[in-house]
């Protein structure tokens, strides 16, 4: 069991998301970086969709009350272990992409760093034990269900570990982290042609700044307003994470995992599914560019990822933890 001693806002329990329910108005939610979460789970011998802790706003300080193996993937956040007197443990630095053993009584500290793009996933062998709600352990913050009572973590919370689900397998050699590059590959959206010529150029050429109002629902992109020529009535239809909607004020919104399932604003471009994980690192102040790719290129990139996971899953695990 872990006890939360300190945490920033929007620290949540997430898994790979709630799928196949958008026709009921139920959002996907789930980890913002599905690559990091799956890597953490693979390192720990967990199922790919085991629940992890998502850290968007450090610091995070957890007291560990039982021996367990953990893995951090994403930003390193200066993560390290402390002893029960809160002194740093020699060799206690928690390198991302590796399995680390934590003893009961030790503290896990992620102080974070002051720059945009702080984002990490913390996995534990067995996964965090919260109930499955509508097929997922993800927190739906907007509708207050899933995860830990449908809310972000706060000081004093207790996080239980599903020890029964611990396979005992570990990937001791580690996984090389993949760094996001501030470049999101995208295809033109369904209403791309409704935008005027300048806007159709601007969307690809602008180096966008992620605005302060951004959250898990969507990233607000500043600097250049985009204008559509057809301002007539548009029927609502389904929207998905990665879709860039342009409301009447012209400032685009890049929809995130918690976005509602339907939208009525023109969609200028859509980020390809293989690049959605990079959005996790686009915290307020970060810069981002969109790069146009063809549908065939997107398909090739999707295949490369399938091959990447197949290769990783073939690496033989190294038995019991030390």
């Amino acid at each position: 069991m872990f006890e939360v001693l300190r945490c920033g806002p929007v620290t949540t329990i997430q898994d790979q998301g709630r799928h196949g329910m958008r026709h009921l108005g139920i959002s996907q939610c789930g980890t913002l970086d599905p690559v990091a979460s799956r890597q953490a789970n693979l390192l720990l011998g967990n199922a790919a969709d085991a629940a992890v802790l998502e850290v968007l706003h450090p610091p995070l300080l957890l007291a560990c009350h039982v021996d367990c193996d953990i893995a951090l993937v994403g930003d390193d956040m200066g993560a390290h272990l402390l002893d029960q007197h809160r002194h740093p443990l020699p060799g206690g630095r928690l390198e991302p992409g590796r399995v680390h053993s934590v003893r009961g009584g030790q503290l896990l500290c992620l102080p974070g760093r002051r720059h945009p793009g702080n984002y990490s996933v913390l996995g534990v062998a067995g996964g965090f034990d919260v109930p499955l709600v509508l097929g997922s352990r993800s927190t739906d913050l907007s509708n207050r269900f899933g995860g830990l009572q449908g809310r972000p973590l706060q000081s004093g919370d207790r996080l239980y570990v599903d020890h029964d689900a611990d396979s005992g397998r570990r990937l001791r050699q580690g996984i090389r982290p993949i760094a996001p590059n501030g470049q999101l590959r995208a295809i033109p959206g369904p209403e791309f042609e409704q935008f005027n010529r300048q806007s159709r150029l601007d969307v690809w050429q602008t180096r966008w700044t992620v605005g302060r109002q951004s959250n898990r629902v969507g990233l607000r992109l500043g600097n250049t307003p985009l204008r559509s020529e057809d301002t007539g009535y548009m029927s609502s239809s389904a929207v998905l994470p990665g879709v860039v909607q342009v409301p009447h004020n012209g400032y685009p919104v890049l929809l995130g995992n918690d976005a509602q399932t339907t939208g009525g604003y023109p969609r200028i471009i859509s980020v390809i599914s293989a690049d959605l994980w990079k959005m996790a690192y686009l915290t307020p102040g970060a810069r981002v560019r969109f790069e146009q790719v063809s549908i065939d290129q997107a398909r090739a990139i999707h295949r490369q990822w399938q091959q990447y996971w197949a290769r990783l899953e073939m690496i033989p695990p190294s038995g019991e933890a030390s």
């Binding site: 009921l24 108005g25 959002s27 709600v133 959206g189 609502s236 509602q260 339907t262 969609r267 599914s273």
Partner: protein, 231 residues
């Protein structure tokens, strides 16, 4: 079906949007779209491909979005071919029986603070607004905006009312409201600009019920019943 072929657009690299821009009979086209979604899902589930290659089939008003599953090798080109095939072989099915719901509503008073606004805008008495709202037959075109929130078709045109200039910061769960040409029931509390005319005690969304989390489903029909009226 050929005289009203839908347009197909890409939503992203893994999803298609099928839409009708204008259609005289919205509930009829919606029933067709819902059947298309079901039949497509069934036709794609074959003995050699038992895993359905679609992750989501999401109806909108007059449109349908199809999203490929993350682990499928199917391309959007192949999906489009299946879709066109399925659309061509689809015949109108008049025998379809929709689920019917009766939603009891307490109109007006503290549960319906905007009833008078709607009445004034329509040039009707509050009693007449209630009669017309509860007298309607509504089709659930689709769900969206919130879990279990139904996009309803069938609001009497005399009750169409613009949204509030100052949206409320919190509309309670169960509120029955009018926004423009639509009426709806809020499954969960939410900020919103719709005119609230009443309240139902029914639960429209229950995350603890995995088999049936939403009371309403696309294709259902509903009727509002006057449980009480404060005018």
């Amino acid at each position: 079906m050929s005289q009203l072929d839908p347009a197909i657009h890409l939503v992203n690299d893994r999803a298609l949007l099928l839409s009708f821009t204008h259609h005289p009979d919205i509930p009829a086209v919606q029933r067709l779209l819902l059947r298309l979604g079901r039949e497509l899902q069934q036709s794609l589930r074959t003995p050699d491909n038992p895993q359905a290659p679609l992750r989501n089939i999401i109806p909108g008003p007059g449109n349908l979005t199809l999203e490929l599953a993350a682990d499928t090798d199917m391309s959007l080109t192949t999906l489009t071919e299946h879709l066109e095939q399925c659309w061509k072989s689809l015949t109108p099915d008049e025998t379809v029986s929709a689920r019917e719901h009766r939603i009891p509503v307490v109109y007006g008073g503290r549960h319906g603070p905007d009833l008078d606004t709607v009445a004034a805008h329509a040039g009707l008495s509050p009693e007449e607004v209630i009669q017309r709202h509860a007298g309607g037959q509504y089709d659930v075109l689709c769900l969206g905006f919130q879990p279990g929130f139904a996009y309803l078709h069938g609001l009497d045109p005399s009750l169409h009312t613009p949204r509030r200039d100052n949206p409320r910061t919190r509309i309670p769960a169960g509120s029955v409201a009018i926004g423009g040409s639509r009426t709806g029931v809020y499954p969960s509390a939410s900020p919103g600009g719709w005119q609230v005319i009443g309240h139902t005690a029914l639960t429209l969304f229950d995350p603890g019920n995995p088999a049936d989390p939403t009371l309403l489903l696309p294709g259902d029909r509903i009727q509002f019943i006057i449980e009480d009226a404060h005018v």
